[in-house]
């Protein structure tokens, strides 16, 4: 009884404070947007897609389109739909509904909330950005609305995030040079910009005749013979070992930017597989050794002709060890 008397004023005070503060607090916190998965990428989050310096969406991903699994949390379950817009000021109903104001575009993507506080949505990238663009950054809005004209200002029932896209490949590598060789060729070129993620070297056997590239070369169907990571302007490409000497190859390089947009191919160079003599071949051919090590042109040790002298030395060593033991 006494306790009730003491707590009574405190409870009343708390109720009063609650009554005063409650209208000022939002019913729900800001909607949180998260990417769960992105087709073709092992990991990605909103920060990766936020700037051109990250890993913007490339043309293939947009044109694919790559499917992205989104998760929106802290959604007000009392609202009807999660609607998507692109542009600026989209959390203002007057901007959204103003047909003369194009700063906010309705992406016409609406997902029913159905009384949930967490909404998972799978969307193709092309539903959020325009694949006809070149490169840029769009701000995407996800709004929890009862209807498109609903006002969201003050309720924090919105999420906005930038989506960067880059559909323009880098310039083609220039000044390509390539050297003849036996096991491969070394290539040097001038890099096209500072945002090169990797370069691919293409090599087509018999792609040249007498140092001139064949006219019917088609690099689009060939797979890269070598991939060079980073913004590197040189690399080596191995020749197929089964090809005979004097085989002529056509080589070319294609660069990819940080969005994996490809450049045009560099100019084509012709290289030749030349009969460079290795040390071992030279040694075997010189006849300097009377040993059996160089046989059949393969310069491998012939097991059948191996001398037993080595075994003899081993036996001598064993006998010496035995004699030493007896002395002890």
């Amino acid at each position: 009884m006494l306790r009730t008397h003491r707590l009574g004023p405190l409870a009343a005070l708390a109720a009063l404070a609650g009554a005063l503060l409650l209208p000022a607090l939002p019913a729900h916190a800001q909607i949180q947007a998260q990417i769960l998965s992105f087709d073709g990428r092992t990991s990605v989050d909103l920060a990766d897609l936020a700037t051109q310096n990250g890993t913007p969406i490339n043309f293939d991903e947009c044109n694919g389109p790559a499917q992205v699994d989104w998760r929106f949390t802290n959604v007000d379950p009392n609202r009807a739909n999660l609607s998507f817009f692109s542009g600026t000021g989209c959390d203002d109903a007057s901007v959204r509904t103003d047909t003369n104001n194009t700063s906010c575009v309705d992406l016409e993507v609406t997902v029913a909330i159905e009384g949930a506080t967490q909404v998972d949505v799978t969307l193709g990238v092309d539903r959020l950005i325009n694949c006809d663009g070149m490169s840029g950054i769009d701000t995407i809005w996800a709004l929890a609305l009862d209807q498109p004209a609903s006002e969201v200002t003050g309720t924090n029932q919105s999420a906005s995030f930038p989506l960067a896209y880059d559909f323009v490949g880098p310039s083609a590598p220039t000044n390509l040079t390539a050297s003849n060789g036996r096991s491969g060729s070394r290539l040097d070129w001038t890099s096209a910009g500072t945002t090169i993620l990797r370069s691919e070297i293409f090599l087509i056997s018999d792609g040249c005749t007498n140092g001139v590239a064949n006219e019917d070369l088609d690099f689009s169907t060939s797979t890269p013979a070598q991939t060079i990571d980073g913004n590197v302007a040189s690399g080596t490409v191995p020749f197929p070992t089964e090809d005979p000497f004097e085989t002529e190859y056509a080589v070319a390089v294609r660069a990819f930017d940080q969005s994996s947009n490809p450049s045009e191919l560099s100019g084509v160079q012709c290289v030749r597989k030349v009969p460079v003599t290795s040390f071992f071949e030279m040694y075997c051919e010189s006849g300097e050794s009377s040993a059996d090590a160089c046989t059949g042109g393969s310069c491998s040790v012939s097991a059948g002709r191996r001398s037993t002298a080595g075994l003899g030395w081993l036996m001598m060593f064993g006998l010496a060890a035995l004699a030493l033991r007896r002395v002890r």
Partner: protein
Amino acid sequence: MTRLLLCFAALLAVSTTAVTARADFDDWTAVPEYTGSPEHFGLELRVGAYYPTGLGDLFTSSDYFGSDIGPDLSFELHYFPFRIDYIGLLGIGGGLGWSQWDTESPGGTANVDRNSFEILNMRALLLWRFDTLARELNVPLVLTPKFGLDVGYWQTALGSESPEDGWSIGPRFAGKVSLELDFLEPRAARQLDEEWGINHSEIFAEFHYSMAGEPAGGQLPINGWGWTLGLGFTF
């Protein structure tokens, strides 16, 4: 009477003092003389160069490996089962070494058509560690002749092509001169022995000749000579 008592007390005091002095003298013990821990093992960490002269002048020509020193990296572990007075330690040992030469091929593409030649050397040895100068005359030099068997696995390749490889076996002769470092800081050397069981540490130079592949006709003659500098320990 009083004088008599004083005299007796003085005598008693003197006699007691003398007894106490004798007791202290008996309790005195000499500082034990330092004796090293058992010395049965040796470890060598080695770096040097090997010249497989059996492969001819072509190997060391400027076209191929003439500008590449190797190097030859190796280690050896020795076991000395017994010591003979004034003779030193006798024992056996084994070691593992690696040498690699790498160079451009004449007429080939830089960084593509590279020639490489590699030898992985395993060896078994008989050793005589003649440390009498150091033990008896305080001259910190130790001589170690070695005799044993080299088993070498060699591999050579051009660029990314499949390598050629094989085994070459032959006797090995070596002579090592060591400078024991104990004299630099005898107290630290003793402490090293007492705490870690390391009897001696040394720097050394060794010259060796390998006949790997030379006596056996079917093997690649990777025989040659080499030198090694290193750091050694006995424990």
